[in-house]
């Protein structure tokens, strides 16, 4: 046995500090300082280019936010986007993960193919799909017309009724792989004997899923849902590339970026943009907190 004084079991604050301080410094400088600065900015009225003409306005920027129809509309768009894409991704993810959990010939190949949409930059996948949804030359319209499902080409990204579903479809394509792989990892922890036992007891496939599979993958599913929800609430790239927020697809991140760097560049809206930033931060934090709470209760 080692004594209490040997080097392995001694507390070493100096080494620990030296090993940790670089990380803390980067985080403090790039995340927490800007966050504090954003909060400070949100109490002023000024333009990004004219920081010297700052006017203190208290919390009135936040008051304005609740009467900004564009912000409220975009918040609703973001929630719609999140619910639909995370919902579809979860169902597709479970189905495809169950498929990949079986032994079959092409399994390794399919698993590798699934990773590709995940690895492609979001901007690139958005451009690929924007081309496929193109109203004149897109393959989606070509196929629909070829099979006589529609008569005239659909302007997918031009109307609110089709543009949001189109954007959701890109997010689903891009992030279902993440769901699949996490759920698959959870599935692989289930011992085969459990299924055998359930089968001998006469449980059908549906019963086996609900009584054997689901309880075991639930923690994994929960974590995947947290990651995906927080990600979807922050969506920017897909919307920016596909529509720039036109046709009622604007989300809070897209609006925030526009207020800060387009509207607030010369006009005095940078402070208002900062108030939006703080609000987005609070909304996401509330979700994160809620989720962590819920997960803890379930995990115990």
């Amino acid at each position: 046995m080692f004594s209490r004084k040997d080097p392995l079991h001694r507390s070493d604050p100096i080494y620990a500090a030296a090993f940790i301080i670089p990380t803390l410094a980067v985080i403090a400088f790039i995340a927490f300082w800007p966050l504090g600065q954003t909060l400070y900015n949100s109490f002023f009225r000024f333009a990004l280019m004219y920081p010297q003409s700052k006017v203190f306005v208290g919390v009135s920027n936040y008051g304005k936010l609740f009467h900004d129809p564009r912000f409220l509309n975009d918040l609703w768009n973001t929630i719609r986007f999140t619910i639909w894409s995370v919902g579809i991704e979860t169902i597709l993810g479970i189905l495809i993960a169950l498929m990949l959990n079986k032994e079959f010939k092409l399994r390794g190949f399919v698993r590798a193919a699934v990773l590709i949409p995940w690895a492609i930059p979001t901007v690139v996948s958005s451009q690929m799909w924007r081309w496929m949804y193109n109203d004149n030359y897109g393959i989606v319209n070509t196929l629909l017309m070829e099979f006589h499902i529609v008569k005239n080409p659909i302007v997918w990204l031009g109307f609110p009724s089709t543009s949001m579903p189109a954007i959701i479809s890109v997010d689903v394509w891009k992030t279902t792989p993440f769901m699949i792989l996490l759920i698959l990892a959870g599935l692989q922890m289930i011992p085969k004997e459990l299924y055998e036992a359930a089968r001998i007891d006469g449980a059908n496939a549906w019963q086996r899923f609900w009584s054997v599979t689901f309880p075991i993958i639930r923690p994994t599913l929960g974590i995947a849902l947290i990651f995906r929800t927080l990600d979807a609430m922050r969506v920017f790239d897909i919307v920016y590339v596909m529509t720039k927020g036109a046709a009622n697809t604007e989300t809070i991140s897209v609006y925030n970026q526009w207020v800060l760097f387009t509207k607030g560049f010369i006009a005095p809206y940078f402070g208002y943009g900062s108030a939006i930033s703080v609000t987005i931060f609070l909304i996401i934090s509330a979700f994160a907190f809620l989720y962590v709470k819920m997960m803890k209760i379930k995990l115990d």
């Binding site: 392995l8 600065q37 922050r234």
Partner: protein, 276 residues
């Protein structure tokens, strides 16, 4: 027996549907990048290109600074990955193995950053980087990327270090080796697989990031690949052939990377989430 066969056929139809769903957009990008303009801009396109040309690929490099954009992305993502691994592995090791007060607080502090919405620090970070004269420079993007990727790096690496057998480190300490040299000479070489898995995720994240790159690099010659591809425009028409060619160019290396390292990437992605 017959029922089993039918079920098998349905299963394989499902597999094919999944494969087509995930691979078709990429296939379509390749096909579109090779088409001649009269075929590309027609309302009834064949599933296979009738005539093939590589003009779009040439134009991407001759009409635009795309080679420079690739260089920018390589420098930024490469430097961010290496620096992130350097400081992240030190912190991960301290959390996994060293004894010190407030460890949980430090870990929570680091992990909380991964919840930050990027857009909520965008404006202030721009002001800070501008006053440090880092807008339109490589460090102006590298440093923020380190901060964005370090939570995941520290988390996965500390998991990895925890699972390594302690005996080697103990032997090194008994031989009189210091903390840092033990870390440098014993721990790091042994954790190469974990470093590769984490580094790949960091690299892919930095290579793909868009919002910061769009905001902090405002000169076309400083654009990274995603910004360049998002900004592709022509005088009269959208240059779809070129957009698809550029997309294919930057996707192929990622596809190769994914195929070669798929097990490492999957283990990195799922680290920490499965144990619950």
């Amino acid at each position: 027996m017959k029922r089993k066969k039918i079920r098998k056929i349905f299963f394989y139809i499902g597999v094919i549907v999944v494969l087509v769903y995930f691979l078709f957009p990429f296939y379509w990008a390749v096909v579109s990048s090779l088409r001649i303009p009269s075929e590309l801009f027609s309302s009834h396109q064949s599933l296979f290109p009738l005539k093939i040309q590589f003009k779009s690929y040439v134009q991407v490099f001759t009409e635009r600074p795309f080679a420079r954009n690739i260089l920018n992305s390589t420098i930024v993502a490469g430097a961010a990955t290496l620096l992130c691994l350097a400081i992240g592995s030190l912190t991960g090791y301290a959390i996994a193995r060293l004894k010190f007060a407030g460890k949980v607080v430090v870990m929570l502090f680091i992990l909380s950053v991964s919840m930050f919405p990027q857009v909520s620090i965008l404006g202030a970070l721009f002001q800070i980087l501008r006053s440090a004269k880092l807008i339109n420079t490589y460090p102006g993007l590298i440093i923020p990327y380190i901060a964005l990727t370090i939570p995941l790096t520290v988390w996965t690496l500390q998991n990895f270090f925890r699972e390594m057998p302690k005996e080697l480190e103990e032997a090194a300490y008994i031989d009189g080796s210091g903390k840092f040299s033990t870390f440098w000479r014993i721990v790091l070489p042994l954790s190469a697989p974990g470093l590769v898995a984490t580094g790949l995720l960091t690299f892919i994240f930095s290579w793909n990031e868009f919002l910061f790159a769009l905001t902090f690099e405002q000169l076309p010659q400083m654009y990274t690949v995603p910004v360049a591809i998002a900004m592709f425009t022509g005088y009269y028409i959208v240059p779809w052939g070129q957009i698809m060619a550029a997309s294919v160019i930057v996707t192929v290396p990622l596809v190769v990377l994914v195929l070669v390292f798929q097990n490492k990437i999957i283990s990195g992605m799922t680290a920490g989430s499965v144990k619950g």
